[in-house]
Amino acid sequence: MFSAEYLKELDKIKNKYEQPRAALLPILHFVQDKEELITPEAEKNIAEYLGVPVVHVHEVVCFYHLFTLKKLGKCHFSVCQTTACALRGSEDIIAYIEERLKIKPGEVTSDGKFSLGLVECLGACEIAPIMQCNKDYVGGLDKKKIDELIAKHR
């Protein structure tokens, strides 16, 4: 069960909606921001809190790209691979990151500091090639920028 403090925050979110289930996505964001991932325990608690069968909470977590069931690196690179970024060299950026960090997309470095994911269009094609570094948009990527980011988060 959620703590009373947690519940207060969740109630604030839930009360904005005419039906409790509609609060599911913002609540999952809230929980993941606090706990870094969505655990089975959290799914159960959220399901109970909203009156939704837990299997359908899990369906939502698995459907949407931004929710994660496992812990990502402290610094997670979501690199866009769609057309506009691809035209401006995203493939090279991805290869370079793989080379520097010695991981493939979907993996976390052994020290837990970095992970890499390939995503589709992030809506910032004007500064392609881009990535989200955790939540921040970083555009105009080149090897230098990648080196800087890695150094910063190492």
Binding site: Y17, L25, H29, F63, T83, L87, L122, C125, E126, A128
Partner: protein
């Protein structure tokens, strides 16, 4: 050219309420509520020829008039800020730089359709947009522009900012409603349409961010003015997003009806490194490709439809002559395969199948029948699915295969399975 949607973008702190108020902020909302009737507002928007700028280009005023006023259920306005169409990034600017323009548009729209609750659905990756819009909403509530009896009138309105979580399909309006209701983004069977059965089973209007942001100027300056700005049946300006192989990628506000050539060369600086244009996507990845001989087309909904493509989301992606079109097809096919929601069989299985097929072609592992079968497979997806995503796969990938057939055939020649007498 008169700037409409981008008029505040260069103003420092444009996103703050105090800045917005300095330029007649919320005057149109006040005018609509105190001096007009809902029917008049709808009529004005109809006359302006404002059309949906998310991709479908449906006449906005007409959409609003579908809301059954005799239905006793509450009405909802949902702003589609999922902006996931590759090549599109304009709504982000409105969110970050002029959120109050959107809020004012929301007030007027709600007044017109008889709604007192609006949801702004913003894609989950747009963290800054979510913060800016929420801050603007908070400011508006504090200053009495949202809430009970706004601006001293009797009109109540509530606005909730709602995050998506990373699924392109939630840009489809009924998938968006499902997502808003806390479910997977599975598009709904239609009819009924959202105007009759929408959010929580109630009549709902879903409009794009940019579309609604155009509403306050229309109310302030009149439908006739707006209609004149664009071209016939497609009033006003729109934000064109240019990306890919251009010197100055970015957002450009230009009248509907501007030619593609003008946008690419006069505004976006043309193609860098002395290269030549090879192909261009005119309206987001779902739009069929155009070739260099087609770029004098007028960028409005009807003209692009006539030429066999679509104006879509206004996302223009430019490809120069270094681009391998089979590779580009693979990138597009991969996008569709990753973003298919998986609900219905033709799209679910077909999008993956097409991607694997094109990938094989690109990497030189394809056999002759792979290319022979590809157009048929691609064609079979569209027209048989629950939503337009399937149609987008067919139209988009189909255009690569049709217009650049020779490149696909060349891949076969180089394929490890190529027959000696090919």
């Amino acid at each position: 050219m008169e700037k409409i949607v981008t008029r505040h973008f260069d103003v420092p702190n444009s996103y703050l309420l105090e800045t917005y108020l300095k330029d007649n902020g919320y005057a149109a909302a006040r005018k609509a509520i105190t001096q007009m009737t809902p029917a008049l507002v709808i009529d004005e928007v109809k006359k302006s020829n404002l059309r949906g700028l998310g991709g479908a280009g449906f006449p906005t005023g007409t959409k609003w008039s579908f809301i059954p006023q005799t239905n006793p259920k509450p009405k909802y306005l949902v702003i589609n800020g999922d902006e996931g169409e590759p090549g599109t990034f304009k709504d982000k600017y409105i969110f970050e730089l002029d959120p109050h323009a959107l809020l004012e548009g929301i007030i007027i729209t709600c007044f017109a359709i008889g709604s007192h609750k609006a949801y702004i659905y913003i894609r989950g990756e747009y963290v800054k947009s979510l913060q800016r819009v929420q801050a603007a909403v908070d400011e508006a509530y504090k200053a009495g522009y949202l809430g009970k009896g706004i601006m001293g009138t009797g009109f109540d309105i509530d606005v909730v900012v709602h995050p998506g979580a990373g699924a392109y399909i939630c840009g489809e309006e009924t998938a968006l409603l499902e997502s808003l209701e806390g479910k997977k983004g599975f598009p709904r069977l239609k009819p009924p349409f959202p105007a009759v059965v929408g959010l929580f089973g109630c009549p709902t209007v879903i409009n794009n961010v940019e579309t609604i942001s155009c509403v306050p100027p229309i109310i302030n300056k009149g439908a006739e003015w707006y209609a004149k700005l664009g071209c016939e049946k497609n009033g006003g300006n729109r934000l064109f997003c240019v990306s890919g192989h251009v010197v100055k990628p970015g957002v450009y506000e230009l009248p509907n009806g501007t030619t593609l050539r003008e946008i690419i060369y006069d505004h976006a600086g043309g193609i860098p490194n002395g290269r030549k244009l090879k192909a261009v996507i005119p309206g987001g990845i779902s739009a069929p490709l155009l070739t260099p001989d087609q770029i004098d087309v007028k960028m409005d909904f009807d003209s692009l439809k006539a030429i066999g493509s679509m104006a879509g989301s206004g996302g223009i992606i430019v490809m120069d002559d270094t681009t391998d079109m089979v590779w580009a097809a693979m990138v597009a096919a991969r996008f569709f395969a990753h973003e298919s929601c998986g609900q219905c069989s033709p799209c679910r299985e077909g999008s993956g199948w097409v991607y694997r097929n094109v990938k094989r072609l690109y990497h030189g592992h394809a056999r002759e029948h792979d290319l022979r079968n590809l157009p048929g497979i691609v064609n079979n997806i569209g027209g048989n699915t629950i939503c337009a995503f399937g149609d987008a796969v067919s139209m988009s990938i189909g255009s690569y295969v049709t217009k650049f057939r020779s490149e696909f055939e060349a891949k076969l020649v180089k394929s490890e399975y190529a027959q000696p007498n090919h």
